[in-house]
């Protein structure tokens, strides 16, 4: 492309072409869904097993993996940010959405004792918000179906004891994070979109 004068028609064509080129090329975020999906699945199943079938004093021990998950996510996010050649508003919104949800989830868990550890239904509700908005932003339906699963499971979880809530949590992350995460990864690999 050169620095030459153009006609109004050419101008309009050029604007359209360039806007089309800048249109969001989706960042592969499957890593985060898979990372958190596996952490939550293992932690919730371990919690259920230890709490139901053993006398182990700390059935929630598996949840300490979330600290590692937080650190890995922060490092990976910072690296992605550094290597990116174009910053989109969608990526920015996406980052803030999950950061806010993370803060909300942390607040609920941190104060869990006050609400008698009835935290799972709330976490499921928040996870549903994250997946439905992410799905809408990427126009990726499996994440939105995952959100519906999170919300239905949340309604059920409100009526279950803590240990069984963990099974619902495990099911929720399998359907809401892991399944869409693997589908996203596969799509990006085979279509590059």
């Amino acid at each position: 492309m050169e620095d030459k004068e153009i006609s109004p028609e050419e101008s309009l064509d050029l604007i359209q072409t360039m806007i089309g080129k800048a249109r969001k090329r989706y960042t592969d975020n499957s890593f985060f869904f898979l990372l958190w999906g596996w952490i939550c699945l293992v932690a919730s199943l371990a919690h259920f097993y230890l709490g139901t079938y053993t006398d182990f004093e700390y059935p929630h021990i598996g949840w300490s993996m979330t600290i590692v998950g937080g650190i890995i996510s922060a490092i990976k996010g910072a690296r992605q940010d550094k290597t990116t050649v174009v910053r989109n508003y969608a990526d920015k919104m996406y980052g803030w959405l999950w950061f806010s949800l993370g803060m909300a989830m942390f607040t609920i868990i941190f104060n869990g004792e006050i609400i008698n550890w009835q935290v799972v239904p709330f976490i499921l509700l928040l996870a549903g918000i994250g997946t439905v908005v992410s799905g809408a932003m990427m126009n990726f339906k499996p994440l939105q179906f995952g959100a519906i699963a999170f919300w239905v499971l949340s309604i059920i979880a409100f009526r279950q004891p803590e240990n069984y809530q963990m099974l619902l949590m495990g099911l929720g992350v399998a359907v809401g994070y892991l399944l869409p995460g693997y589908m996203m990864k596969h799509n990006l690999k085979s279509h590059g979109v």
Binding site: E5, I6, L14, A22, V86, N88
Partner: protein
């Protein structure tokens, strides 16, 4: 109705391409703009300077490790100029 004069700074192929690209994103790297416009580095540099001097874009030059990096971002003045340029073009194209 009299025709509005087209902003000479935007009515040029490469500068218009850069502005059209930048209004759609939050910020973009020099390498990305070069790739998308197909311009040469030298020419792109000159045109970015012109847009920056006019206050249409913010050019941020910094180092990332040992690598120099140039990031461009459209300013409010740039957005306004782009909007009024598109309006003027529409006037020209009206039957």
């Amino acid at each position: 109705m009299a025709f509005k004069a087209l902003d000479p700074l935007l009515h040029s192929q490469l500068r218009l391409a850069v502005m059209s690209l930048l209004i759609s994103v939050e910020s973009a790297d020099f390498v990305y703009i070069k790739e998308q416009t197909g311009a040469t580095a030298g020419n792109l540099s000159v045109q970015l300077d012109k847009l920056s001097t006019a206050g249409y874009i913010d050019v941020n030059k910094h180092f990332e490790g040992k690598k120099p990096k140039t990031t461009c971002k459209v300013t409010q003045a740039g957005l306004d100029a782009f909007e009024s340029y598109v309006k003027s073009i529409q006037q020209y194209l009206k039957p």
